[in-house]
C-alpha cells in the first residue's frame, strides 16, 4: 500500500453551551462570558486521525476557520500530535452559514493538498447542523460518510468504516480520498505530551490564510455568500416544574416517589 498522504482534521472552537445566554435587548447571542473549548467531537476526529497516522503513516493537518484568538486551540491540537495547523481567518468570513463555510474549508483543504481523508466531528455543539462534512465532500467531489464510530482499517485505495444507523451499525467500504464525520465519544482523545505542549505553545505558529490566499472574493463568503439569514432569536423557556424536593430516609423518599409514580400509571 502506498503511504497515506495528509489526514486533515477540521476543528472548530465553540462556547460551552450551558454558558451561552441570549441578550434579550439586542437579540444577540452572548458568548462573551462563556468558556471556549475545542468542539468535543472534533477532538474525537483528531484522535481518530492520530491513530490512523500511528498505524498507517501520513501527516495530520488541522484546519480551522475562525478568528485569530483560536490559535491557542490549534496549538493544543498540535500538542496532541497534529503535524501542522492552518487557520483560515478573515473578517469577510463573519456571518458565514454552512454554504460559504464549507466552501472556504474545501478551498483550504485543496491548498493543503495531497489529502487521503478529511475527518470532522459529527456536528458542532453550538450550531448542531452536522451539514459541514457532507458539504465539504461535495465541494471537493469526493465521497462522505457521517456518524462514523470507527475507521476500522485502511487498505489499498479504500477504508473500512463503521457507521451508526438506526438500531445498530453498518460496515462500509469507501474509496480514498473521503470525508468522514466522527461521532462524539467514538474514542478517548489523548492528552497532549507535556514537552510537545510546551514546544507547541512557544515555538509552533499555525499558518494563517485569508480569503485571498484561497482565491475567494469577499462576496462569496460571509453574510453575502450565505443562503440563509437569521430573522429573530428566541430563548426557549423550559416548562414550569413543581420542583418538589424529597428528602429523608431512603424509605421515606421511596414512599413519596412511589406515590408520584402511581398517579401516572
Amino acid at each position: 500500500m502506498a503511504e497515506l498522504g495528509n489526514i486533515i482534521v477540521c476543528l472548530k472552537v465553540v462556547p460551552k453551551p450551558e454558558e451561552v445566554r441570549l441578550d434579550p435587548e439586542t437579540k444577540t447571542v452572548d458568548r462573551s462570558r462563556a468558556t471556549n473549548e475545542i468542539n468535543p467531537p472534533d477532538k474525537n476526529a483528531l484522535e481518530e486521525a492520530l491513530r490512523i497516522k500511528d498505524k498507517y503513516g501520513g501527516r495530520v493537518v488541522v484546519v480551522s476557520m475562525g478568528p485569530p484568538f483560536w490559535e491557542p486551540y490549534l496549538k493544543l491540537a498540535v500538542a496532541m500530535g497534529a503535524d501542522d495547523a492552518v487557520l483560515v481567518s478573515d473578517r469577510a468570513l463573519a456571518g458565514s452559514d454552512t454554504l460559504p463555510t464549507t466552501l472556504a474549508l474545501a478551498k483550504a483543504i485543496q491548498k493543503i493538498g495531497n489529502y487521503s481523508m478529511i475527518l470532522c466531528g459529527e456536528e458542532s455543539s453550538d450550531g448542531s447542523t452536522g451539514q459541514v462534512p457532507p458539504g465539504i465532500a461535495e465541494w471537493l467531489g469526493i465521497p462522505h460518510v457521517t456518524f462514523v464510530s470507527k475507521i476500522v482499517e485502511v487498505k489499498d485505495n479504500k477504508a473500512v468504516i463503521q457507521r451508526t444507523i438506526k438500531g445498530g451499525h453498518e460496515v462500509l467500504e469507501v474509496e480514498i480520498p473521503f470525508v468522514a464525520a466522527i461521532e462524539l465519544g467514538a474514542n478517548t482523545p489523548r492528552f497532549p505530551d507535556f514537552r510537545r505542549k510546551r514546544w507547541a505553545e512557544r515555538e509552533f505558529k499555525p499558518k494563517v490564510w485569508n480569503i485571498a490566499d484561497l482565491g475567494l472574493k469577499p462576496e462569496e463568503v460571509g453574510f453575502s455568500g450565505s443562503a440563509t439569514s437569521v430573522v429573530d432569536l428566541q430563548e426557549v423557556k423550559p416548562p414550569e416544574r413543581m420542583k418538589k424536593i424529597l428528602t429523608g430516609s431512603p424509605e421515606e423518599v421511596a414512599e413519596e416517589l412511589a406515590k408520584a409514580i402511581l398517579e401516572e400509571l
Binding site: 451561552v20 447571542v29 455543539s125 423550559p238 421511596a254
Partner: protein
Amino acid sequence: MGRESIWVWIEQDSGEVEPSSLEVLSKAREVADKHNYEVSALLMGENVEKLVPVLGRYGAHRVVLVEHPAFKHYTYHPYYVTVSRLVEEKNPNTLLFSATRNGRDLAGRLAVRFRTCLMAHIISIDYDKEGRLVGGVPGFGGNIVAVVSCTKGRPQMATVAPGVFEAVERGGGEPVVEKYSPPAEVEKSPVRIVKRKIGEVVDLSRSEKVVIAGMGTGGNIELAKKLCEVIGADLGATRPLADIGVVPRDLQIGTTGVSLKSKLAIVLGASGAPHFVSGLLDVKKVISINKDPEAPMKEYSDYYAIGDLFEIVPLLIKKLEEKKR
C-alpha cells in the same frame, strides 16, 4: 405553469418507511394547503410501490417514484445522483427531509450541490410574504431558537426535527404517481455496504413512560431496567452512557437524540446538562433521583429526590410491586 411544489424525501429501509418522514409529509401538506402549494413525496426504494397509498393518506398529492436495488439500504451516492437529476428536471420550490442520520447526511450534500439554503433540525416551518421558507432552528443545546429564512437558492431546503410534528392523515384520494428510472451512476457508488447489524429498534419518542439512566448510575443500568419492568416503561439514557456504549444511540435523550413526549420520565443520576434537558421539555411529569442536592436537574424536575439511587430505587421497586397488587 403549475403550482409551486414542496418535495418531501421519504426515507425507507427494505421497503419500510421511516415514521418521521410521514411527520414531515403531513406537516408539509398543512403548510402547502395554507399557501396553495402542492406536495410531492419523493420515494426511492426497491419494490416500494406498495407505499404509494400510505403517502397519499399522509398528504402527498403526487408521488415521485424511482425503484432500483441500490436504494434498498441507504448510502448517500445513489440517492444523491437521483435526487440531483430529478430536482434539475422538475425544479421544486422546497425540498424537506426528516433530520434523521440519513436525512441529514443527504441534505447536507445536496444543499451544496444546488448552492442553496439549508436549515437544520427545524421545529417550526412556514413561508413569509415573499415566499421565503422560514424555520425555527434550535442552537446551543436547545437553549436558543433562531428563526431563519432562506435568502438564496432553489430548492429551499430544510431538515425537520423528528418527533416535533404529528403524522396526521391529511390527504385525500389516490396520489398521482410519476415513475422515473434512476440515472446510470447509481451503480457506480464509491461507498459499499459490507455488513449491517441491527438490533431491536425502540422509538422512545412514542413512549408513554421512560426511565432514564445518567452517569450517576456509574453505567450500571440493571436497576433502571428493573424499574422499567415494574412500571412498564422504556429505558433511555443520557449522552455519556451512549458515548461509552452502555446503551445504543437510539436510546439517547436530548438535542442530538430523542425528544420525549411521555407522561412520565424518571431520571436516575443525571446532572441536567442543557442538551439533555431539552429532550424533556414535552414530558408531563419529571421525577429525578440525584445525590447532589443542587444539580441543575432540580430546576427541570417536578419531584427531585435527594439521595443514593442504589438505596432508593430497590425500595421504590418493592413498594411499586406491593402497591400494584
